[in-house]
Symmetry: C2
Subunit: 449 residues, 2 copies
């Protein structure tokens, strides 16, 4: 799966505007260094990262990322002793490490995973690639400070901060060939400070050039702390899933994202957190058994909030897996059962037991019908039929525990969950898409290929 691709990431900028949170490339974005986001997203395909750092920030960056083994990649550091010679010179310093075509990215830029995937798509083709953002005035780009590109008929006409005509923003993302170093050397003979823009413009005069459009995928040159804050907010809003229930959307998710951001900097994996959160369920369970219902209710809601963290951390670190989602789903169901079991054991009456059993059944059937629909149609339920998700169920139990009407709330939970399941059955029976005939064959050979 992993090939010997290389990426050069330029981190030698001064980043003075970040104060204590700098140097920029290792300033925390959702809890992990800005440059680590890029490294993680490229790590499925890129084996070796060459980071060009400055004498000033080398210790901090290397202290943060190390040799890359924590992330599962190889990182080598090259010190640019002359940052004043600009980033074209930084790029040139990577030459001794480069064996073939390579990716060039900026250490203080954020790139959406889809944008990086698009770039990797171009890796098989010859020529050198520049990724440009065609959206003039796209919210995240400050026009005055951005590097612009003017490209006509896939020919690079001009590039720079102050060019008269332009049609793309420079995203600082490239696929380059080792011949680029020759171009830098040529430029180095006539001037000291060489920017990547200078290099690219010069290189395009002789080499085939391709402009890849960023296609609206998010990227950002994180220049100020204000940029960082805005980007964090934008990314956080992306964590709200379309399937999130009302309580999750309005309450849980807002808190959990902050918690996840805090947790992301630690080495805990999403799966470890999933298991940890399952064991945390024993807290409300035990409290319900002891009939400390108010406290149990509070901890139920805390559990519900933390429930989102494993998935969020996986997404922050770009390490979401199907098995992680599976584990999470199953342990969530165990958690559901455990909490209701706690209530049943606490009350010790046959009546509450029967209600608890129906509540478990309703609770599970909500999840089961979702999984079944997904298995059959690839989608989930929408609208009212999508209600009574885990967030709402745990919220009701919290309400019951805190107000003292626990049995009544449990009964309400029974009624509501089974009502939604009934709705789902009705929707499925009446929907035409569902009724499509499955082609089956009575022929044993056809059944067991």
């Amino acid at each position: 799966m992993k090939y010997s691709l290389q990426a050069v990431i330029l981190c030698a900028g001064r980043g003075s505007r970040f104060g204590k949170r700098g140097p920029k490339p290792v300033a925390r974005l959702l809890g992990i260094p800005i440059v680590e986001h890029t490294i993680r997203k490229l790590s499925a395909h890129v084996e070796e990262f060459v980071l060009i750092v400055s004498r000033d920030n080398q210790r901090k960056i290397e202290g943060c990322l190390g040799d890359g083994s924590r992330i599962g990649v190889k990182i080598v550091y090259v010190i640019n002793e002359h940052p004043e010679r600009e980033n074209g010179y930084s790029l040139w310093l990577a030459q001794p490490y480069i064996r073939g075509r390579f990716i060039l990215a900026m250490g203080d830029h954020y790139y959406d995973v889809k944008l990086l995937e698009k770039l990797l798509d171009g890796f098989g083709k010859p020529g050198f690639f520049v990724v440009g953002d065609p959206q003039p005035g796209g919210s995240q780009v400050k026009e005055a400070e951005a590097t612009k590109i003017f490209s006509v008929n896939n020919k690079l006409v001009d590039i720079g901060k102050n060019i008269p005509r332009w049609n793309y923003f420079d995203t600082g993302l490239f696929i380059l060939e080792p011949t680029i170093f020759k171009t830098i050397e040529r430029l180095g003979r006539v001037k000291q400070a060489i920017s990547v823009s200078d290099v690219v413009l010069e290189h395009a005069k002789t080499e085939p050039f391709f402009l890849l459009s960023s296609d609206g995928h998010l990227w950002m040159d994180i220049d100020t702390l204000e940029d960082l804050r805005r980007l964090e907010e934008k990314l956080r809003s992306g964590f709200f899933k379309r399937d999130d229930g009302f309580i999750s959307k309005k309450f849980n998710r807002k808190i959990s994202i902050r918690v996840s951001t805090m947790f992301a900097r630690f080495g805990v994996t999403p799966n470890q957190l999933t298991v940890l959160l399952f064991f945390f369920t024993f807290v409300p369970f035990t409290l319900f058994v002891l009939q400390k219902n108010i406290l149990a209710g509070v901890f139920t809601q805390i559990l519900s909030v933390l429930d989102g963290c494993d998935g969020e951390i996986a997404r922050i670190k770009n390490i979401t897996t199907r098995s992680g989602g599976f584990l999470d789903s199953i342990l969530d169901r165990y958690g559901d059962a455990l909490i209701i079991l706690g209530i049943v054991v606490g009350y010790k009456t046959a009546q509450v037991s029967a209600i608890g059993l129906l509540a478990i059944a309703g609770s599970f059937l909500i999840s089961y019908t979702n999984a079944k629909k997904e298995a059959v149609t690839g989608t989930r339920f929408r609208g009212f039929a999508s209600q009574m998700g885990r967030d709402m169920r745990l919220f009701l139990i919290m309400l019951g525990g805190v107000t003292g009407y626990l049995v009544e709330t449990l009964l309400l939970l029974v009624v509501l969950t089974h009502l939604v399941v009934a709705l789902r059955i009705a929707e499925m029976v009446h929907s035409k898409g569902w009724a499509t005939q499955a082609v089956t064959s009575l022929n044993p050979r056809a059944n067991h290929p």
Copy 2:
């Protein structure tokens, strides 16, 4: 989805060998008439069926199939007053009803749905089509009695029962054009008895002919009651699903198929049966509540056996739907809960309640993990991780009820179901296929440079 296609089905043969069960086309195969199997399978695409019957069997066939509205198609009957003039003459009688290209099939033949679909695939192309079975000595064909085809380079060289060289069996399945009637008239001038083979051979001399291979899909010329019995057995074996559990395979399915065959002749739809079976669950439920555990156990096993009937009838009638499977799955889960609830309510102790709750949880998680795995990977669990399906769970409850160790068995059920769920989690966490990253950054070109 339904086009104005027409099909002619020849039912004028005498079928004397079927005795009381005849006439052949309406002899019951898995509970429904042989010819109805073909009509049902074609019904998604064919609007009108022209059945050529004889004076002898017309009343019985028409009494059985009527105008087709029960099946959702239109059936017209044409009486062949001269069956001795053979089936080529029968075909000619359809002429006044035929508006364009049409399908020709035999009323006493069985065709797998995949074979008929393959034929329908050819409908858009010009020319006339003959479906031949290339498997010499294929178990279901009696070589001596079969009509054979000799085709070289897609040219029809010879067709008949006693031809010296041959490479296909004639399946009695064709796509023909109205020009075929001209050929029959031409033949009719020189002889009285005209077989379809004669007609096809003559027709192929002037018209473009295509031979479609049956590709191993099951078909059969049901000539004797022994043929019918053999075919029924073969089809029954096709009802054993690969996902069937041990109890289902060794016991339940063998009985349920016989019950389904009996039920298939009635108008009850599979979904109605699913709902009916759910209500039947209240029998063991009530008995468990009343602590009539032996009887309850017996009815639990009866329920388990009947559980397969809805799906089987759907497959016999070729009306399986995704919504039917969905409804069945969900009502099965309700049934699972109901039976355990009955036990819990019967015992009325907190201890049994807690065990019941864990049993429900385990039972549901078996189904839930299956659905989840299907949603994610499109497959189910295999081997030991596939155990503790509904057949085994209900079997254990039956055993418990009958032997008097109901609580102990329920406890065993708890242990075993959760053990299998744990196995599934372990399998999923360790399997490489599962661990693949969900947010795919996979680029085929980058992957295969």
